[in-house]
């Protein structure tokens, strides 16, 4: 099991994303209004890179001709075939039972804890006064 500091929290703005690598896995980290979520950077359909997709809301309809939008900023569309995934859970909209992007938990931890603890970032310096994003794989 690998637990890794992948970014400083302030690096990813709300609505933004960052591609990171944890134990050889490409993972894309999203910031939705200050909450952080991580998905494997690999569409379960044909392995398109989700980090290159557009972020949107979810469009639904109570009847033909009537459009509603919800979950704004919470849907990532694969850049290859447009399949939609809920960033919070990785679930696809078209086939949520069997077709999901793998989701990873993102923890926000204080720099002070990380410096004192066993999990030191290998790729960049950790400052005591900042928050950092930690992913366990």
């Amino acid at each position: 099991m690998a637990r890794q500091v992948v970014a400083a929290a302030r690096e990813i703005e709300p609505g933004g994303r960052k591609l990171v690598e944890v134990a050889g896995r490409a993972i894309v980290v999203f910031n939705i209004a200050g909450e952080f979520f991580a998905l494997a950077n690999r569409c379960p359909h044909k392995a398109g890179e989700l980090c290159k997709g557009k972020i949107s809301g979810f469009i639904s309809s109570p009847e033909p001709g009537v459009y509603e939008i919800s979950h704004e900023g919470e849907v990532i569309r694969c850049p290859w075939h447009g399949w939609e995934f809920h960033i919070r859970t990785g679930k696809s909209w078209c086939d949520p039972r069997t077709m999901n992007a793998r989701a990873f938990e993102v923890k926000v931890e204080k720099g002070a804890q990380l410096v004192e603890g066993p999990y030191v970032a290998e790729t960049f310096p950790v400052l005591v006064e900042d928050d950092y994003l930690v992913i366990e794989v």
Partner: protein
């Protein structure tokens, strides 16, 4: 209707000999127009009389046409093919007249002709209401008018018309059909307002006929994407003489693209194949498969439902020889569903007994 039924033939074509036959059913002004203008025929070009497909040789029996009157259909379909009930779909082209009033008047006369010269002569006959195709109000009115007679069990449109059938201009018609519990039948054919292929006008009849299944693919897609079945959850559509075996491959394709494009049609909230299973039925002739049991069995498996198919001979069109319209390789249990249960589930009005009629000799049920 007899409680013991062995087959319901959902696609049988009665042949109108010519416009003169409609004269008794036309209002005086249109009767006059026919005489003055010298309109002898309004036959559609969809089934050229001498094309082999248009009538099976043994049914044609040396003549140009077949299916000319009730005794002939009694002998060749009800008795010859062992059908207990036959649904008549008249393909004469009067509903295509571009003059909306003329199309309406001629179509009304055609439906009255079917009722008086066919339905009134054999208790086993049912029919589709032919709808005028160039005016939706007229189509709605004709549906309501004919629906008063329960022997009309379906409304009939042609596959290729002026605009795709899913467009909202048609929806008043679907609302009426849903309310009446009458399925919309879409039969192969064209108003020839557009080329029968999306590429332009073809050179040969062979191209025209083969292109019908492409037309059905596009109409089915239009009905689904425009949201007809979301708006009218009780509506059923029967694709008649559409061919069958293109369906699984095409639905796989459509369902695949739906996954990435469903956001433009958000009312399509489940895979198109599921919508087809709930709303769409197909008649079995032509089936479009080799006479190979194993292959037919595989194709049937790919449909993933036992409810989709309705028995049909497509009389007098020539798709098979002999007396059995059922393709080989269909299990007895499924064959029973196709012959009886699926038609009864699709056409709710089949359960309504025909009113007592004054029948000619041999006209009633045995």
């Amino acid at each position: 209707m007899s409680p013991i039924i062995s087959a319901i033939d959902c696609d049988v074509h009665p042949t109108l000999p010519g416009m003169k036959a409609l004269l008794p059913y036309l209002e005086p002004v249109w009767r006059d127009m026919i005489e003055v203008r010298g309109i002898d025929s309004f036959e559609s070009a969809s089934y050229p009389p001498h094309a082999p497909l248009s009538a099976r040789p043994d049914w044609r029996d040396g003549r140009v046409r077949a299916g000319m009157d009730v005794p002939e259909i009694r002998t060749q379909v009800l008795e010859g093919l062992g059908a207990d009930v036959a649904i008549l779909n008249c393909l004469y082209g009067v509903q295509l007249a571009l003059n909306e009033d003329m199309g309406n008047a001629f179509t009304r006369a055609l439906n009255d002709w079917v009722r008086a010269e066919w339905l009134d002569h054999d208790l086993r006959l049912r029919a589709s209401i032919v709808l005028p195709m160039h005016n939706v109000e007229h189509a709605c009115d004709e549906l309501e008018r004919c629906a008063a007679d329960p022997r009309f069990v379906q409304a009939l449109m042609l596959c290729m018309g002026e605009v795709p059938l899913g467009r909202r201009s048609w929806w008043p018609l679907y609302a009426r059909a849903e309310k009446l519990g009458i399925p919309i039948g879409i039969h192969a054919g064209s108003s020839f307002r557009h080329p029968v292929t999306s590429l332009g006008w073809p050179s040969f009849y062979m191209e025209d006929y083969a292109a019908q299944s492409q037309g059905f693919q596009s109409q089915l897609t239009s009905l689904i994407t425009e949201g007809v079945f979301a708006k009218h959850p009780g509506l059923k559509v029967v694709m008649i003489e559409s061919g069958v075996t293109w369906l699984p491959g095409y639905m796989w394709r459509l369902s695949k693209f739906w996954r990435g494009l469903r956001f433009e049609v958000p009312w399509v909230d489940r895979p198109p194949l599921e919508i087809v299973r709930d709303h769409v039925r197909l008649t079995i002739q032509p089936f479009d498969a080799p006479e190979n049991q194993e292959i037919v069995t595989q194709l049937i498996d790919q449909l993933q439902s036992d409810d989709l198919l309705l028995y049909s001979s497509d009389y007098p069109h020539w798709h098979f020889d002999g007396q059995d319209a059922m393709p080989p390789g269909i299990s007895p249990a499924l064959a029973r569903k196709i012959r009886i249960d699926n038609p009864l589930a699709t056409y709710g009005r089949l359960a309504i007994p025909a009113p007592s009629l004054t029948l000619p000799a041999n006209g009633g049920l045995a």
